[in-house]
Symmetry: C2
Subunit: 217 residues, 2 copies
DNA sequence: TCCCGCTTGTGAAAACGTTCACCTGCCCGC
DNA sequence: GCGGGCAGGTGAACGTTTTCACAAGCGGGA
């Protein structure tokens, strides 16, 4: 869509998401223009970074003025592929699955959960959100979903991934804490809360090795 | 704990978590030794990367042989700060909060949720997991928690963060999709599922602009 | 005991991402 | 319509992370 087959860094994309969110807010507040400096908002992003990120995709600002909020919002929306709706198949109607289904934010961003699958007889047939939980055995018959979400226990994750790929999804969001194998051409993203906890625990034990206000370890 | 005040890259730490997980598995299977090549396991990490990561913290392997699984597991455990228990205060007993409380994995890794807070009268007083949900107004009286988890709606997130900091936590895991301000010395990690979805949507719209097997856009 | 194949640990090189610094363009006030 | 100040775009410098490549160490077999 841009140049030939240029790839953009993961971090740039994550920051685009961030800019988009800021723009949504600022737009709601009625602001018309915003500077790269304000877009950066928090000190871990510099204004130069903002401008560089945006410049990979085009020239959206006006010198001396900044960026038009409405315009930039529309542009980033298009870049992130949020100017359309995505059909999502969710596998695993447990805690995480239920949380996702209950979350309005996703629908608002263009993500529609069009099918939910589970293996437990207790869950199959129940209505969750506005879709009926289907038997995982029916997943191969699922059509039209571009993305899959894996919210099953670890042991089922790889098998489910294979089924999703067979059913034709091109991207998978995986909540199970395990690296999955997917064929080339299939995009995989992991949400790994365990890792975040461990990262916290690492930093905290670095900065002060022992519990506060207690004797030795 | 290592040299003077050397900092390690975020990615190194995330990979350590990954290695740790692989080691747990391999350990359970009864393997005694493992090579850096096998530790990398998936093609997006090279064996050189594994060795470099580990070398930041010491020399744990033996040339010609690889790493002793049990030993390396213990070492990484200590590096990540998982050789102790962490007290966690959870704020927001909604979908995400409930999912976290129900998840055995965290307890197994050494994270104990010692207190849960919510603002909704419907939730306060209910028992979730094995703790009673308390009124958020009681958070300032909470003592001894080293980490806080924010699982409230976005609008409450910053206020909750401030309260957690006041209550003495040194690290915060934030599920609300907004950048939070925290004082220096407080470690903040964000789990942002929306961003992951957007990242998927970006890649998918790059690789093939239109839905598969359907006419126009 | 000595050699060979295997695998680590690590400097050096390469790739990558971020920051700097400056030129350009634009608006506004005079 | 002219000048000053503001703010975006961008090549180059910089710093960090990853990869490369190889010497050094180890075990096992002859
Ligand atoms: N809950 C958390 O806080 C948390 C935190 C970190 C990671 N995770 C991971 O997220 C995943 C989901 O966690 P959860 O808490 O929602 O688990 P859960 O047990 O609440 O739900 C899992 C669901 O998957 C279903 N399932 C099992 N096997 C299946 C299969 N083969 N096909 C289809 N469905 C199947 C189960 O019936 C259940 O409904 C797990 O892999 C877990 O490790 C969860
Ligand atoms: N559910 C998801 O799949 C999902 C996905 C992405 C992001 N998030 C984010 O995670 C956060 C939690 O999501 P959720 O689905 O669990 O929401 P939820 O509505 O199920 O739960 C939120 C809980 O926070 C409580 N709460 C509200 N204000 C509070 C306050 N000031 N102090 C203490 N408690 C308060 C509410 O009573 C409720 O119990 C939200 O910020 C949401 O944007 C959720």
């Amino acid at each position: 869509m841009t140049d030939p087959m240029k790839r953009f860094s993961e971090s740039t994309i994550r920051r685009l998401s961030h800019y988009y969110r800021v723009l949504e807010e600022v737009h709601a507040e009625g602001q018309r223009m915003i500077s790269s400096h304000l877009l950066a908002e928090r000190e871990d992003i510099t204004s130069a970074q903002v401008r560089k990120d945006l410049s990979y995709f085009g020239s959206f600002g006006r010198r001396g003025l900044g960026y038009n909020v409405e315009h930039l919002r529309t542009e980033i929306r298009a870049i992130l592929g949020l100017d359309r709706r995505w059909r999502v198949a969710l596998v695993g109607a447990g805690h995480i699955g239920a949380a996702l289904l209950a979350y309005r934010g996703f629908r608002d961003q263009g993500f529609d959960v069009v099918a939910v699958f589970d293996s437990s007889p207790e869950r199959i047939g129940k209505t969750l959100g506005d879709v009926v939980v289907q038997d995982i055995a029916k997943l191969p018959e699922c059509e039209g979903a571009e993305m899959g979400v894996i919210a099953t226990p670890v042991r089922a994750a790889q098998e489910v991934a294979d089924m999703l790929v067979a059913a034709g999804v091109r991207g998978i969001l995986n909540f199970a804490p395990r690296k999955l194998r997917v064929p080339e051409g299939i995009t995989l993203r992991n949400v790994d809360m365990t890792m975040e906890f461990e990262s916290l625990s690492f930093v905290l034990s670095q900065t002060r090795g022992k519990p506060r206000r207690r004797a030795g370890e």
